[in-house]
């Protein structure tokens, strides 16, 4: 336990030392905290209508104005962040876990299993994400779960391929041969000896993937295929704002700015993580 | 004009790290005369790599030159501009690295690489190819004309190291730095390469700075030897003096440890107990003190590299004692 904690603190300290990493850490931290405590932070009810206050510009009482139903934009942005993370985190972690497991099995297992899994990955990847999403939405209707499912399915191959490549390079290294010479089982070799050496790379990939997923959720919601109204979502905000861009341009800002910030934040964090986790670079520290 | 080609004078180099300054080289002094083969011997952590990168000024960003000079043909290398250094590298000073498998660009033919390296010459491409083929023949590669069209992966490790030597000698450098060039090779190939290097050296009369941990190779090839330990020169001198009459306990122990010396089966081989000290946290006094059987109270002070006789230097208090006694 103390081992993993010290490792985490080494990584975090490494990230914080890099200016861009620090910015990424702050932005991501702010988004995560505001999402967790969204229900307590929001100044107004993000869903309830308040027609008399509709379409107001930014003011002291409504920092980012209100929409055509009189809902406070800032409150909707904060709640939207929660929705974005609710989609992004399970989708990314789910895809990573499944991709990692399948990828390691493909890389370490027999050739026929490798071929089979690679065929599965390629098949999954050959669906265009949006088309796939449209098909699934047409079948089961738009919802948060649908978005999570679609995103997860389409990003499994990426993690799977990376995990497979890493496993292939590690499988002939001497320490894995040494484990085999001691009679270690496949589960033990993969779980205890390979996993810790692969997870870092995938973690970096995951951090970089979060903004893609957030943008995808926003895109689907923009098309009306994502979360159902009145649930606030950054994509839905953008869509409402787009319709009223002449009357209330701040709605577009409210929906667009967090997407840009989240993208930058997670990307900075991911890139900085990559530098810290990369063992070749770490040796020189 | 003097015959000194390379002169290293009181060179101290640190690496800035999180744990504080790592004192990688301390007060290094030695020289290389024109046309001479000087061997640098030392075990891991002795500072060989830092020394080479300092001479070539190809140091890591956290390197700090604390003091001293590296003079090549009388000019201080450490004050040269990057542009001047580029002119020097690959023309006056060449290097052969340890790993022949990573020295060559895998996607270009050997001929192309040997032509590219002559970019300073005004000769035509055909002439350059001709020179390249002659050079390959000189390092003992059969059928060089045909071989020029091949890629690095079509050559064995021993062949690639010969090609690396051919490349390094192409510009007829005054100084060739050879960084453990035979360590990755089998003994039979090692011998072939060393003999070839000897022949080429006497033909072209370039000086060689030969870095190795293999005492047998050093003894066979070099005129003079510099022994390094933990970032300091502990002894330097003529190859016979170093091997037959070592004046520093580390040199003596190192030679004793080489099993090539011991011709009958030994149940217990000599060793040097202990570890190389932490360069970020140097002990006071002589750097070898903790592992030295002959250490005394005097060794709490750092012994200077003293001249014992013409061309033989050692950094050990024991030699001062002998002086006092005689």
């Amino acid at each position: 336990m103390s081992k993993s904690r010290s490792e985490l603190s080494i990584i975090l300290r490494g990230v914080a030392k890099d200016p861009l990493g620090l910015i990424g850490l702050i932005i991501v931290g702010a988004i995560v905290i505001s999402a967790i405590f969204a229900a307590w932070i929001v100044p107004y009810d993000p869903i309830g209508m308040n027609i008399p206050d509709r379409m107001q510009g930014p003011s002291w009482s409504h920092w980012l104005g209100t929409d055509n139903l009189g809902r406070d934009t800032l409150s909707r942005v904060i709640m939207g962040g929660q929705v974005a993370l609710k989609v992004a985190l399970p989708a990314v972690f789910g895809a990573m876990a499944i991709g990692l497991t399948l990828g390691m099995i493909a890389g370490y297992g027999p050739r026929w299993l490798d071929n089979l899994l690679m065929l599965f990955f390629d098949t999954l990847r050959s669906f265009p994400t949006v088309m796939f999403a449209l098909a699934v939405v047409a079948l089961v209707g738009p919802s948060l779960q649908t978005v999570v499912l679609v995103v997860m399915a389409t990003s499994i191959p990426t993690y799977g391929r990376v995990a497979r490549t890493q496993t292939l390079t590690l499988r002939n290294s001497e320490f894995i041969l040494a484990e085999r010479a001691m009679g270690a089982s496949m589960v033990r070799i993969l779980g205890v000896h390979m996993l810790p050496n692969i997870i870092g790379v995938l973690g970096v990939l995951a951090a970089m993937d979060v903004p893609t997923v957030i943008a995808l959720e926003a895109g689907l919601s923009f098309l009306g295929l994502g979360v159902k109204p009145p649930t606030p979502s950054w994509g839905a905000l953008l869509k409402d704002g787009y319709a009223l861009i002449r009357q209330t341009p701040w709605l577009v800002v409210g929906g667009g700015l967090p997407i840009i910030l989240a993208t930058l934040g997670f990307t900075f964090l991911g890139e900085s993580l990559r530098d810290v986790v990369d063992p070749k670079l770490r040796k020189n520290r | 004009m003097s015959d000194t080609l390379l002169e290293i004078d009181n060179l101290s180099v640190d690496y800035e790290t999180e744990r504080g300054d790592l004192k990688a080289l301390r007060d290094i002094s030695f020289d290389v005369q024109k046309g001479e083969i000087v061997g640098i011997v030392g075990e891991s952590g002795c500072g060989k790599s830092t020394l080479i990168s300092s001479i070539l000024r190809l140091t890591a960003p956290n390197t700090r030159f604390r003091q001293g000079e590296v003079r090549f043909k009388g000019d201080d290398i450490l004050t040269k501009t990057e542009r001047q250094m580029r002119d020097l590298r690959g023309s006056d000073i060449s290097i052969v690295f340890q790993d022949p498998m990573q020295t060559h660009n895998p996607v270009l033919t050997i001929g192309r690489q040997l032509v590219d390296i002559q970019h300073r010459s005004k000769a035509t491409k055909a002439q350059k190819l001709d020179i390249a083929a002659k050079m390959l023949a000189a390092v003992g590669i059969p059928d060089p004309q045909a071989r020029l069209k091949q890629h690095p992966h079509e050559f064995s490790g021993g062949m690639r190291q010969r090609i690396a030597i051919a490349m390094a000698l192409m510009s007829e450098p005054d100084l060739l730095i050879a960084d453990e060039p035979t360590t990755a090779l089998d003994a039979t190939l090692e011998v072939q390469i060393i003999e070839r290097l000897k022949d080429l050296q006497s033909e072209m009369n370039c000086a060689i700075l030969f870095i190795s941990h293999h005492l047998g190779v050093i003894a066979e090839l070099c005129d003079r030897v510099v022994v390094m330990y933990a970032g300091a020169v502990v002894e330097s001198g003529d190859v016979r003096e170093i091997f037959h009459d070592p004046k520093h306990p580390y040199t003596r122990r190192l030679i004793e440890c080489d099993p090539g010396h011991i011709k009958t089966r030994a149940r217990i081989l000599p060793t040097i107990p202990g570890e190389v000290p932490d360069l970020a946290n140097l002990p006071d006094g002589c750097i070898f003190r903790d592992r030295c059987e002959q250490a005394t109270d005097r060794c709490h002070q750092v012994p200077a590299l003293e001249k014992l006789k013409e061309g033989h230097f050692a950094a050990c208090w024991l030699n001062h004692h002998e002086e006092a006694a005689t």
Partner: protein, 307 residues
């Protein structure tokens, strides 16, 4: 006394590349056998094939009288207690994110020995290889080559094996540390009665640790005998070349060096007749015939023009 390891006509091919063309040797209990060869001679494949880590299409490997070639991982597992391996790269053969304590006690976990007191065992094993007990908390990257090699030895000894297969045990070690390792292995061998197979290209090391040795060329033994016999009266010209290609740490050494021509031929195009013919300094027309393996007074030889 019956052999602890008896290898007979072991053959390994990767596709059409015939890496081992029939290797036979045996190791008696308590004996150290050295297999010497240059890169590409197939020496690493020999021990990996014995341990079931490389394929072996034909031949037999008997450990303690039991045939082990071609056993499944599962059938091999109980035998892994008795056969320990050491790999070339001292640091690279240790799992990078595992502490020394868990590395050297890994064999207990793999063999399901839950009753062992891990901390006490780690201490005992570290003491066995002369490492201080606080090393238990270190990671491989915090070790020097010599220390990592000791950890590798400790791990190999954890289950008190009968046989150790070591691939270049002194590779990557400084001379001042190399002696320590050889002394340690010699001492352990005497105290624990281990048998060892050591693969190396370093003849200086062989002399001080091996009882018997074999010279491997292109996946075939060309000479075999007691270490003294090979060093004092080598009979195969290749052995001669190897012995003379060993630079002496003495600038005045008079070397009667026998020049070896060229480099080992490709395994894809094995020469006809004697496979060493093209590089041999004393080859003659008779060498166009294929030499047979002949044993005289415990000294095996595959040469038609021996010295």
């Amino acid at each position: 006394m019956s052999a602890i390891l008896d290898v007979n006509d072991l053959q390994t091919s990767y596709g059409s590349v015939n890496v081992l063309a029939g290797v036979s040797f045996s190791v008696q209990p308590g004996e150290t056998y050295a297999m010497v060869g240059e890169s590409g001679s197939g020496k690493t494949t020999v021990i990996r094939a014995i341990a079931g880590l490389a394929p072996a299409q034909a031949g037999s490997v008997k450990f303690d009288g039991q045939e082990i070639r071609g056993l499944s991982e599962r059938a091999m597992r109980p035998l892994r207690k008795d056969i320990a391996m050491m790999f070339q790269d001292p640091i690279g053969s240790l799992s990078p994110r595992v502490t020394v304590r868990n590395l050297i006690t890994e064999p207990y976990r793999i063999q399901g020995m839950k009753e062992k007191d891990i901390d006490a065992e780690a201490k005992r094993l570290l003491a066995l290889v002369n490492l201080p007990s606080h090393f238990a908390d270190r990671y491989p990257y915090q070790l020097s080559g010599g220390q990592a090699r000791r950890v590798g030895v400790a791990r190999a000894l954890a289950l008190e094996p009968k046989l150790i297969l070591a691939d270049e045990p002194t590779a990557g070690l400084d001379v001042s540390v190399q002696g320590e390792l050889l002394n340690l292995l010699n001492d352990l061998r005497d105290r624990l009665g281990l048998s060892m197979v050591i693969i190396t290209h370093n003849l200086n090391v062989v002399r001080h640790i091996a009882d018997r040795m074999g010279i491997l060329y292109l996946g075939r033994l060309v000479e075999e005998g007691s270490t003294e016999a090979i060093f004092d009266e080598p009979r195969h010209p290749y052995t001669h070349c190897l012995l003379s290609a060993n630079p002496e740490p003495d600038p005045d050494a008079q070397l009667e060096r026998i020049a070896l021509k060229g480099e080992p031929p490709s395994l894809l195009m094995r020469p006809s007749g004697c496979e060493f013919r093209e590089r041999c300094p004393v080859a003659s027309d008779i060498c166009l015939q294929t030499p047979k393996w002949e044993v005289n007074n415990d000294h095996g030889l595959r040469c038609l023009t021996p010295r």
